[in-house]
Amino acid sequence: MYKKSSAYILIIPLIIAFCILIGWPLINVVKNSFYEATFLNPAQKTFTGWRNYTWLFTFKYPTPNISYFVAAFSRSLFWVACSVLIKVIIGLLAAVLLNSEYLYGKKIYRSLLIIPWAIPWAMAAMMWAWTLNGQFGIINSILLNLHIIEQPVSFLSTNASAFITTFIVDAWVGLPFMVIMLISGLQSIPDSLYEAADLDGAGDIRKFFRITIPMIKPVLLTVSLLSMVWTFNSFDIIWVLTQGGPARATETLPIAIYNTSFRMIRLGGIGKASAMTIMQVMVVTIISVFYIKTMQESEPK
């Protein structure tokens, strides 16, 4: 029969993996956040105490009004909020649409929808860069042909449009997962609820708000939290599309961490980047706590 001793033996690889692959880097980043070093030779470091943490709030760069970290951090939060909002709203509507009895070819749509999921993010971003190209991109073509715009638009060259474009592309990357998860959530709602509502003569909109939304809320909450974390950690899309530009308009926290550690040799450094990383990890940890809580609550007892 199942012996507890074999459980402890079987679990050893996981414990080793956690200690070496996650525990060690985490301890390392905490330690490094109290030191100063450059990426050229991280082993050569000097102890600085809490200075890297005060640096987060006192290093006003490039403008004297707001610190580099606070700017990147708040930009990140706004960017994540926009992207996740699109994912949730469009995702829910698309899930209802692709699960609707009125739609033909649901299977085909779903298989097509899954394709972007399998494309590596950096590759997807390169495809999007060309799709959004300021002269010959197909988006400009479509908009010009429909006479929505008169002149081609350079989506990635002004601050506001680059910000909007990057979070839309990020939403594009996250939507397949969102929609597929929500569809499986929708399919678990018993038909009898809708049939009962039909008998009462409820309309589609009423059914959506009174049955679909309350029934799908647990699934919606978990995928939203998951998607928040993924979006907060999003690096490749912005890096390939704008590298954080123009004029730092899309420099979210992940981009700032990369820049601080590997690009700003004199102003940044491994220590300061480590302090920023701690902030990144803390935000993810806070969302994870909520995520684990909702998972436990939605569990069948």
Binding site: M1, Y2, K4, S6, A7, Y8, L10, I11, P13, L14, F18, L21, W24, P25, L26, N28, V29, N32, A37, P42, A43, L97, Y102, L103, Y104, Y109, L112, I115, A118, P120, W121, A122, M123, M126, M127, W130, T131, Q135, F136, G137, I138, I139, S141, N145, P152, W172, L175, M181, D236, W239, V240, I257, Y258, S261, F262, S274, T277, V284, T285, E299
Partner: protein
Amino acid sequence: MKRNTKTTTKKILFQILALLFIGFMLLPIYQMIITSLRPAELPWESPAPLYPDKVTFKNFTDAFHLVPRLPRYLLNSFIYGFGVSLLSLIVAIPSGYALARFRFLLKRPLMILVIYANMFAPIMLLVPIFTIMKTFGITNTYMSVILAGSIFTIPLSTWLTISYMQTIPVEIEEAGFIDGCTQYNVIGKVVLPLMKPALVSIFIYSFITGWSQQFILALVLINDDKLMPIAQGLYQFFSRSSVRWNELMAAILLSTLVPIALFLLVQNYIVKGLTTGSIK
């Protein structure tokens, strides 16, 4: 009668909305396909054509001239992806089994740790991964990217193994025990054969996830051109001042075919695995 016309309009409306949505989702892929089929000599004009005005397959061979190391990059990506998936399964199979089947002291904290670790993305550990690997002098090796990549696929592979295990009835294993098998015999002779299709899909899923995360990890761990994964290799040609879009799109098309095909193959398993399973 009135109700019928209402249903018909709804059907048409939904069809249009679904087409628009899928159109948006596939737009960059469409753009990639028509660009890779368009002769590179043909000058671009604005507005660019919405469909291929002339078709050629020359770009696919020219891609290998533009990116001479294309096969090498692809091979590297496979090596990284394969290494990451293999490492993930080695950890995930025994521990997923233990977490699904046993009740023991560490079970609950470990389950929560698996879920928490699943939230981690490369950027969160990029700086420490780099400093550790640099201190040990193992940047610019296959090993560095495989080890770093597996950090982010082990938790998910373990989670998926747990949720598949929970769908296999315990009675099958109990029959094995009654026949006098030991715990490890049961795993080898009963559980693993039953899990085979699930293991294939977990392998492929970590392969694809690993494939996607190679870019950022290689950005800091690899600067030797011979060891670059495909995304990083192609990125060099993307970030140049004048991009050869036709050949580049052909190269991207060639190199995304494999992950897409693999993913379509296992999609049902993955969706099922991600939507079932519980902490207890």
